[in-house]
Amino acid sequence: MIDVAFVVFSVAAVASGYGVFRVDSMIRATYLLLASFLNVGAILVLLLAEYLGVALLFMMTVEMIVMGLFMVMFMMNPAGLNPMNMVHQPRFAAAAGVVAAAGVAVVAVFADFPVAPVDAESATTRELGIELLGGSMLVFESIGVTLLATMVCSVILSSATGRFGDGYEGSVAPALEPGGDHRPADDLYDPDAAGGMDMDMDMGDMDHGEMDMGGMDMGGMDMGGMDMGGMDHGEMDMGGMDMGDMDHGGMERDS
């Protein structure tokens, strides 16, 4: 029974995890990731780490809600209404993934670990609570403090009107040569900025192939790496997609 559940959950977890990087719709990607987390949470419950499983459920849900918003804010074509494939160095990445997985798998198969299963009767949640507020109090507290610091600095980082002047200050690229002028935000692209022409070339080598969206040739897209940002996704039109969605994309960012 438990084994069946485990198989189901793990297959679902891995499958949805794979799907995250395969689907076109950003929302689907986000919530596939959430699904993967939920399945892992379920596996945790099967592993008798009941509280951890449910907490993972809860935490990841909220986290992914936020993630979904960001996805739609920062991706072009969030609804995935056009097929698109925005990856680089795909072969290397795949190889690396396989190597990593294989490495861990080898460890899992060949290493021999001590066999000391948790007994099913123990009240793991209560134990965890006592541990958190007892022996590991220091760890717990430091996690809390770290999270607080995280809140503070993420607010500082992301606030439009930081303490160093208003948002516009931040939205202009710093001068690339000392004493140089501040160029307006819309012609940010500067060959020097990315280390010269051959920079472009090798980016070309890498990305041209992989990057093509809805048939429209993205030849310009690789310097798009720099250039892309310039165009506002809100307005960016993609072959034959309903402007309605894009407007939301744009509007979400503006609002």
Partner: protein, 101 residues
């Protein structure tokens, strides 16, 4: 369900995460890859706790620690994405190629 199987699932998750983090162009997708890796890590830790750790509470604490790491990574990541977008109008890793401020 034993330690080996759990670790194998974790391995698969980590592999997918590495693949995603290396292959994706958008910062947010990239962060998703990292999340996926941590997902596998959490699973592995829980597996060790359940099968090889004699259910020591400290193992669960480790899981909670990695959850916290995940949360922090996400928060700081999003903040950075926003800041980078403000500074460079860039949402892809190619967008911040310049080596100066």
């Amino acid at each position: 369900m034993n330690l080996m199987t759990v670790l194998l699932v974790a391995a698969a998750l980590i592999g997918v995460g590495v693949w995603g983090a290396l292959a994706q162009q958008t910062f947010v997708m990239l962060m998703m890859g990292i999340e996926m890796m941590l997902n596998g890590v959490i699973l592995a830790v829980a597996g060790f706790w359940a099968f090889a750790g004699a259910g020591l509470p400290k193992g669960q604490v480790l899981v909670i620690l990695s959850m916290a790491v995940m949360a922090i990574e996400l928060a700081i990541g999003f903040a950075l994405v926003t800041a980078v977008y403000r500074a460079r109008q860039a949402d892809m890793t190619e967008g911040i190629g310049s080596l100066k401020g």
